[in-house]
Structures are given as C-alpha cells and as structure tokens.
C-alpha cells in the first residue's frame, strides 16, 4: 500500500491540517511504512469472526437514559468568542 502525494494532501484536507511540502514528503513515506505493517492483519482469515467495536459488548455497561441534564456553562468560558452566552464561530459564508 503506497500512498502518493495527492492522497496525503487529501487526507490532510479531510483532517483539517495544512501541511508544508516537507511534511507531505515525510508523511508520505512514514504512513506508507506504517500501513505496510498493519496490513498484516489481512493475512488472517477473518470472514466468520464477529467485530468487537468497544471491547465491552459482553459487560454490564450501558449508556444512561436519554434525559436532558444541566450542562456546565463553565466549560465554554474559554471559548474564542462568546456572544450572549453562545459560542460564535468565524463566518462560513462570504
């Protein structure tokens, strides 16, 4: 699995990262190497195996009931821009 430069740039775009040319070269080589290593799981016959998403499917753990609870306003106190108690973000449309 060899990644080309364009694929690295596409990934960066999806991940909201701006890369320098040097970073693109570095990640192209390093990600290719890591993907080459992890690909070894594809040598296993996994067709009949069930996936484990959380690792705790068989436990007593479950989400709380979906009932609204008070949130903590203090968690947004450090927001970049607060307007009338709301978090404001930069313009989306010009």
């Amino acid at each position: 699995m060899k990644l080309n430069k364009q694929e690295v740039l596409n990934l960066a775009k999806l991940a909201k990262l701006k890369l320098t040319d040097q970073e693109v070269n570095m990640y192209q080589q390093q990600l290719t190497e890591v993907l080459g290593y992890v690909d070894k799981i594809n040598s296993l016959d996994l067709e009949k195996v069930k996936e484990s998403l959380t690792g705790i499917e068989d436990s007593d753990v479950k989400p709380r009931s979906d009932i609204a609870e008070d949130s903590q306003p203090s968690t947004i106190k450090q927001a970049a821009q607060l307007k009338e108690g709301y978090v404001a973000n930069p313009k989306v449309f010009k």
């Binding site: 909201k16 799981i41 484990s52 690792g55």
Partner: protein, 475 residues
C-alpha cells in the same frame, strides 16, 4: 527540616505522620524542593496551592478524620483535569487551557485528602512511547539522563523514580503507564477497562484509555485504585461491578501462573528475556504452579492496535478546533482557514501523523479493509485471553522488548517507536488489567520490568502476586 524522601511508600509516610516525624506540609515542601532542583523536566505546572492543600490535610489528620491517603502528595499527568489548574496534554494547542472541572478519579483521591503537587509532562495527548512528543520538551530518565523515560506517562514515572512525588497518576491506552514504569524502575498498574472513570481524562482512544497509578510499591497502586475505582454516572463505560477490598492478604501460591510463549521470541533483548525467565524459575522453585500457554494472535495485536487507536484518535481530536478552548487564530479568517490554522500550528508531528492515519483507516474505501478487520482481530485477542484465563490466573511476560533507549534513537522512525509497545497493547485491546514492577537491572544499570496480566476485574490477583515478587526482591 531534613526529610529522607527516597522511595517512600504510603505506609511509611502514614507511620511518619503518626509518629510526628514530619507533617504533610513539611513532606510536600521537601518534594517541592526536589522538583526545583530536578533536571528531568518531569513537571509542566506546579500547583501553587499544594502547601495549602497539605495544611488542610494536616488539620484533617489532627481531627482524626484522615484516610490512608490523607496528606500524601500526588503528581498528575497533564492530560487529567484538575479544576483551576492548567491542563495542556503536552500540546501547544492547549498551552494556556485551564481545566474547568476535576476528573472523577482525581476528585475521589482529593476527597480522601491527597495533595496535588503538580501536573506532569507527557507525550502530546498521550501519544508516544518516549515522552519526546511533548511541546514542553522531552523528559529525561532519572536513572540515566541520556535515556528516555518511556511514554506517554513519562513525566509521572520519572517523578516517582526521581523522588519528586511518592505516587502519580498517568493514563494507559497501549502501555503508557506500564512501559514508562519499566523504563524508570517503578510500579505501574493498568486497571481493567471500566474499572476507573475516564471522566475528566482527555480522550485519546476511548475504548482503550484508563487512568492508571504509578508508585514505589505494589501496595501503593492498590491503595490508589481502591479509592478511584467504581461506577461514575459521568462515564457511560464505567462498570458498576463492586470494588473488592484490594489490601486484603491472600495466599500467592494458590495462583496458577501462565507463561505465554509468544512473548519470549528471540527479537527481544537478551538481558530482559533472561531476567524474566529467571523470575519465572524463582517462582517455580518456591512452589508456584507454572504452565506454558499460547496466545496465538499476539503477533497481530500491535497491528490491530495501530488501526483501532488512530481511528479513535482522529475522531476524538476533531474537538480541538480552537473555537471552544485552546489556541485561537485571526478572527478575520474564514471557518475553514481558522480550523486549518489552529490545528496545523497547534498539533505536533506525531499527533498529525496519527490523525491522518486514522482519517485514512476510517475513509470510505478502506474502512472494511482496515478498521473492520482490526475489530475482528480484537474479538480474537479477547477470546485468546478468555480461554487462557480459564486455565491460569496470572500471566507473566516481559514488560518491554528492551530497557530504556537513548533520547533521539527512534524519533525519525515511527514504526520502530510503535514496536516498543508490543507487549503492552494486548491488555488494552482485551480490556484486561496489567501490572509492571521492577525485578532486575541490565548491564548499564537500567531497570528491567516484569508484566503480570490478569482477567478483567481481577486486579486483586495482580496485587497478590506483585506483592509476593516485590517482597522476594527486597529479601
């Protein structure tokens, strides 16, 4: 006042409090003085309230309301929130972020009277095996300053090893407490998944993360777990299984021990392998029943880990967008430019690498080939352990394939760095618990650790065997 704070255990400190040899305030002062002189870069932030907290603890002890943890100083990995104190996660993106609440696990320790001495250095967002990925600079191994302390909880392990705190909290997602414990020669416990609330610990890979203690003795990690463990409504993945009494004395020799042959290949350092083999022989000669077992998917665990973990990382770290907290950009920028600027300037190289890796693994064309396959391997690894834990109680393995390596040795080669987690990741994938403790030193006087693994929620077995091994080495 001169206090000898070399390798203090919680029991020793409590005895000293009782005998009025020193107070929590005096003890805390002694650690703070050590931190001032220290060259390992273990701390990012010192808690200015530490002495006030210690005085409060002294009052509580005087009133006879103390617990076994009251007045004990604690170092906390900078990925765990403590209200009012900076929480950087070792990242530039959170350089000035101040925690707006306290993690549940830490709150329970605070309620028991512990004194937070400061926040420790770590790999950025807990991603690394050498503590060289911190925006605040690498941590040096206290046993040899030219070596890494391990990671990602390198500052917490080094703080205990360098006598900057008697106990510390780290987090363990793939070995981030056990590997640095081995490299620094201290004890590190990774609790079973769900045993300790993750609320207030910044999420790296939510299905793998656990808050985990480091200390000078096995018993101390048991004391800490005893207080932090248990259900928390704020963490939907925390278990409501009852927390047993961990300090109770149990007969170690009743434990059936297993040696998984896949952990003893020729690829590991000879001195490490021999030290662990000698440990196993010593236990046999004391009358322990030891059986060879096989965990046949061991060889695939690291590959599965480096698929599952980055996938979760890329999702979890999407929250760092500079809008709610952390690094900000020029307000005139468009939203897209704002995101790109904040994240490109705020994240370090390893974080970007894992975000992109995860983005790739979760992308439409590759999800089935990678992520889904890794989830299936997770099932196989879990089944491997369940089968083996029907035959034995505790597995004994090396903690790491080598002792602490040189600073800079693996920074240019991520894959080599990832391979240093090879013996620790399986426990996180399967959700079981693990304990690492020092058993020997190599030719360069660097610590060698042994890893004990037990089934989910069987921490008591780790403590029983860990205690036994520790006492044998003390003679």
């Amino acid at each position: 006042m001169n206090i000898d704070i070399q390798n203090l255990s919680i029991d020793q400190i409590q005895q000293a409090f009782k005998a009025k040899k020193f107070s929590s305030e005096q003890l805390t002062k002694a650690y703070l003085n050590n931190i001032k002189k220290d060259k390992t870069n273990s701390f990012i932030t010192i808690n200015k309230q530490a002495l006030a907290e210690a005085k409060e603890a002294d009052q509580r002890i005087k009133q006879g309301k103390g617990t076994v943890l009251t007045g004990i100083p604690l170092a906390v990995k900078d990925i765990i929130l403590y209200e009012g104190l900076k929480a950087t996660a070792g990242s530039k993106i959170l350089e000035n972020y101040i925690a707006s609440y306290t993690a549940t696990a830490l709150q329970r320790l605070k309620d028991a009277g512990m004194v937070v001495i400061g926040k420790t250095n770590c790999d950025e967002f807990a991603m690394g095996s050498s503590n060289e990925n911190s925006y605040f600079g690498p941590v040096l191994n206290p046993r040899d300053h030219s070596k890494v302390p391990g990671g990602s909880s390198g500052g917490s392990a080094a703080a205990v090893a360098a006598n900057l705190a008697p106990v510390a909290l780290g987090t363990d997602t793939g070995g981030s407490v056990r590997q640095p414990a081995a490299f620094c020669g201290v004890v590190g416990l990774k609790p079973s998944y769900g045993r300790v609330s993750r609320y207030g610990s910044m999420a790296m890979a939510s299905s793998l993360d656990q808050i985990a203690p480091l200390a000078n003795t096995v018993k101390d990690t048991a004391y800490i777990l005893q207080t932090m463990a248990g259900y928390d409504p704020k963490d939907a993945t925390s278990s409501n299984k009852e927390v047993p009494k961990y300090i109770a004395k149990k007969e170690a020799k009743k434990l059936r021990l297993g040696v998984p042959k896949e952990y003893f290949s020729d690829n590991i350092n000879k001195e490490v392998k021999e030290a662990v083999e000698q440990q196993i022989e010593a236990l046999k000669s004391k009358g322990f029943k030891v059986k060879q077992v096989s965990l046949k998917y061991t060889d695939y665990a690291l590959a599965a880990y480096y698929l599952l973990m980055p996938a979760e990382v890329s999702s979890n770290l999407a929250r760092y967008d500079g809008l709610l907290y952390g690094l900000m950009a020029d307000k005139k920028l468009s939203l897209e430019e704002w995101y790109n600027t904040v994240r490109s300037q705020g994240f370090g190289a390893e974080t970007k690498r894992r975000i992109m890796l995860g983005t790739y693994i979760l992308s439409a064309g590759y999800y089935d080939a990678y992520y889904k396959q890794a989830q299936k391997v997770r099932t196989l690894i879990k089944q491997d352990f369940s089968r083996v834990f029907k035959e034995v109680d505790v597995l004994i393995t090396p903690a790491t394939p080598s002792t602490a390596f040189a600073l800079g040795a693996k920074t240019q080669d991520p894959l080599q760095m990832y391979l240093s987690d090879i013996f620790t990741v399986s426990a996180n994938i399967a959700g079981i618990c693990g304990l690492v403790l020092p058993i020997a030193k190599d030719g360069n006087n660097l610590p060698i650790g042994v890893q004990l693994l037990a089934d989910s929620f069987a921490e008591d077995k780790l403590f029983t065997l860990g205690n036994y091994i520790e006492n044998e080495h003390r003679g």
